[in-house]
């Protein structure tokens, strides 16, 4: 008994010593750095020399070769300082919060605003002296706002906007009626009416459905909140108050948002039951590719997915690979989203039209709080957001730039997206943490509203009923955000 007790005690002491050793061996001092006005002094003084900074870039930018060009140009420009920027060679969804404190994260990150601002909320990225940067004057306030964080009472800019992401309408040019220029171009502007206004697209979808029941006009998952919110925004709805920063003010039922909800019901009627779930999102590439769908709405970054599917379809139909590629490029059109009727009735062919407000995002650069060379990182961000590099980025990736001078030079869709962001027609996705509580309730609500088109007895037959549903969902989201607080 005595020996056993001694053995047990010895074991416990050894275990304790081991644990103490492990804990003391760990240096946690760098785990968290705090923001203060002194944080900005990190960017004062002489730039670091002979350092290597790791940059995490977008996968597409790497695969198409833009990133190599950027690194080569930067390294050449800063060779005299011995600064070398390299590919961080990490997964684009790397967790800075986990790896940064231990020195394994990237020094500079390129991400969407909502991802970067999550890091900013926990102080994993540095506040930047944005106003002192060359690009500051060229980037609209709405884009800078997406990178503003209120931390411990101070307002900090934690990222530099590079490009604008917003929903676009994709359609098949070869599926337009042959005589569209005479029958579907009322304003004679050379653009088919059905891709200019939702009313015309709705009518054209009805026509396709009645003539060929296995084909569709416009098809899109209406329960996808990212895209469906645009209909509410266009009629006065919003996500959070105070420019998407006040989670206590949930505005999805504000203004005449119920009119937007009715548009969702009307659009659902020219689709099928797949619109209430994500089936359409999953198969829209192949369905648009094989001509089952005439048009859909999604983000610009999946353009190549449609091209690939169209090429496959043309190849199946006996065209050579080069012919298929050329035909796909020729027939797939990505354009701005159509206009909405002011009165919110897609059935009213003479309704006055207005621009559609959509939800979007701003991708940009941020600097890790754990970098050993903040000034070199800032130099890199300055370099990567310069006119020449953003222009080059557009050439390689076809992005819509956040810089006004580049957008003006490019014109077309890039300029249009820039103008929409500047005019508030693109609502940047909220960057506050409460946004996580939005998606599921909204998807359920949008799915339920869209399903009304297929019910024998509609659940939301009036605008009042739709308004009530929007308000109930807003209340539910509010409870989800604040009940546990």
């Amino acid at each position: 008994m005595k020996i056993k007790t001694i053995a047990l005690a010895t074991c416990l002491v050894m275990l304790f010593c081991l644990a103490a050793l492990a804990v003391t061996a760990c240096d946690f001092s760098d785990l968290r750095q705090f923001y203060s006005t002194e944080t900005f002094t990190k960017f004062d003084g002489e730039i670091e020399r002979n350092v290597t900074i790791r940059v995490l870039e977008n996968d597409t930018a790497i695969s198409v070769g833009y990133f190599d060009e950027l690194l080569d140009a930067f390294n050449e420009a800063y060779a005299e300082y011995g600064i070398t920027a390299v590919d961080a060679n990490m997964d684009s969804y790397t967790d800075l919060a986990l790896d940064g404190p231990f020195g394994y994260g990237p020094d500079v990150l390129y991400q969407a605003n909502d991802v970067l601002m999550e890091f900013a909320a926990d102080k994993h990225v540095l506040p930047l002296p944005a106003e002192e940067m060359e690009c500051y004057q060229y980037i609209p306030e709405a884009a800078w706002d997406a990178y503003e964080a209120n931390i411990e009472g101070g307002i900090y800019t934690c990222g530099v906007p590079v490009n604008i992401q917003a929903p676009m309408l994709y359609y098949r040019k070869d599926l337009l009626p042959e005589d569209w220029e005479t029958t579907y171009d009322d304003n004679a502007n050379g653009i088919p009416d059905m891709v200019e206004s939702w009313n015309a697209l709705y009518r054209y979808s009805q026509k396709i459905r009645s003539e060929t029941p296995d084909k569709y006009g416009y098809m899109k998952s209406l329960s996808d909140s990212y895209f469906a919110l645009g209909y509410l925004f266009s009629y006065g709805g919003y996500v959070f108050g105070d420019n998407n920063t006040n989670a206590r003010d949930i505005g999805i039922a504000a203004g005449q948002a119920e009119i937007g909800a009715r548009i969702i019901q009307q659009l659902a009627s020219v689709m099928n039951m797949e619109t209430v779930d994500d089936s359409i999102t999953l198969n829209s590439y192949s369905r648009l590719g094989d001509g089952t769908y005439f048009a859909t709405m999604t983000t610009p970054d999946v353009y190549t997915m449609f091209i690939r599917e169209m090429e496959a379809d043309y190849t199946r139909r006996g065209y050579s690979a080069s012919e298929a590629a050329a035909m796909a490029e020729e027939n797939l059109v990505m354009t701005d989203v159509p206009t909405l009727p002011v009165n919110g009735d897609l059935e009213d062919d003479d309704a006055e039209q207005m621009g559609m407000t959509v939800m979007g995002g701003v991708n940009g650069y941020a600097i890790s709080s754990y970098t050993k060379a903040p000034k070199a990182c800032l130099a890199f961000v300055e370099f990567a957001t310069s006119y020449e590099m953003v222009m080059l980025r557009n050439e390689y990736l076809g992005i819509a730039p956040a810089r006004s001078d580049v957008a003006a030079e490019l014109g077309g869709l890039s300029e249009r997206l820039f103008e929409k962001l500047d005019a508030g027609e693109i609502v940047v996705m909220p960057s506050i943490s409460a946004v996580g509580q939005l998606w599921d309730p909204l998807a359920t609500m949008f799915g339920d509203i869209a399903e009304d088109a297929f019910r024998d007895e509609p659940k939301y037959p009036t605008l009042e009923a739709l308004k009530r549903e929007l308000q109930d969902t807003a209340d539910g989201i509010y409870s989800a955000i604040f009940t546990l607080q």
């Binding site: 240096d27 394994y104 198969n283 192949s286 997915m305 690939r308």
Partner: protein, 286 residues
Amino acid sequence: MRSYMKKPVGMLKFKKAADVGLTYALLILVGIIFVFPCLWLVLASFSKTGSLYSFDGFFPPDYSLDSFKTLFTDTAMYNYPQWFLNTLLVASMSCIIGTLLVILTAYTISRFEFKARKPLMKITLVLGMFPSFMGMTAVYILMTQFNMINNHWGLILIYSAGAPMGYLVQKGFFDTIPNSIYEAARIDGATNARVFCKITLPLSKPIIVYTALTSFAWPWSDFILPKLLLKERDMYTTAVGLMSLPETEFARFAAGAIFIAVPIVVLYFCLIKYMINGMTAGAVKQ
């Protein structure tokens, strides 16, 4: 006197045939249920467009070998050959070191009587009940302090060090080797090391093969630990690399998953005889 009614022979034959038929039908059904996902993955790996979204119903509309080609040729972003080599290094080294440690642990526990033997067995049994991912955060922090993040030897260390925890099957095998053989060797003057190397090991081929295979298979397919410890793309193992592929590269994912399964399947088929001997030897009651 009791009389027993004999059942007609035809009836018995019918019952037996029905029994066999039902058993086969059930086995075939279960077989289909298990084989179908694998079959689907194999077909998906031959999908021409490469996207999961282009499937017409459950199967790809067009087939080609492109996915397998790009898996090994398009390495700029997704360096599958490098991931494969990394996995091979980690699995092989973990297999060699882990097998050695497991065999030594099991042999010691089986053959030697010492005071801590029973408590050790109890402790390992209890510790084995906890899921290994419970200590992941601690493992991560410790590895950062040893500078073993982004280092394949960090993985090998953890796999090898953790392997002896599963020594029970091997101990069961060593328990079945008659003590008289060891006693004879001892009488002839053999040392412990000589007994182990010259007598135990040659008799233990099945369990060594079984141990080596299981020690190889675990790191070969593990995801959680490599995902935690390997940060750079070129350091990834296959499981982590495949999981990092975007949704648009599903055919490449499927091709990679099929290819990674080939070596382990071949190994299993070649060594199945030893494996079964190894697993069952310790289970026989005499």
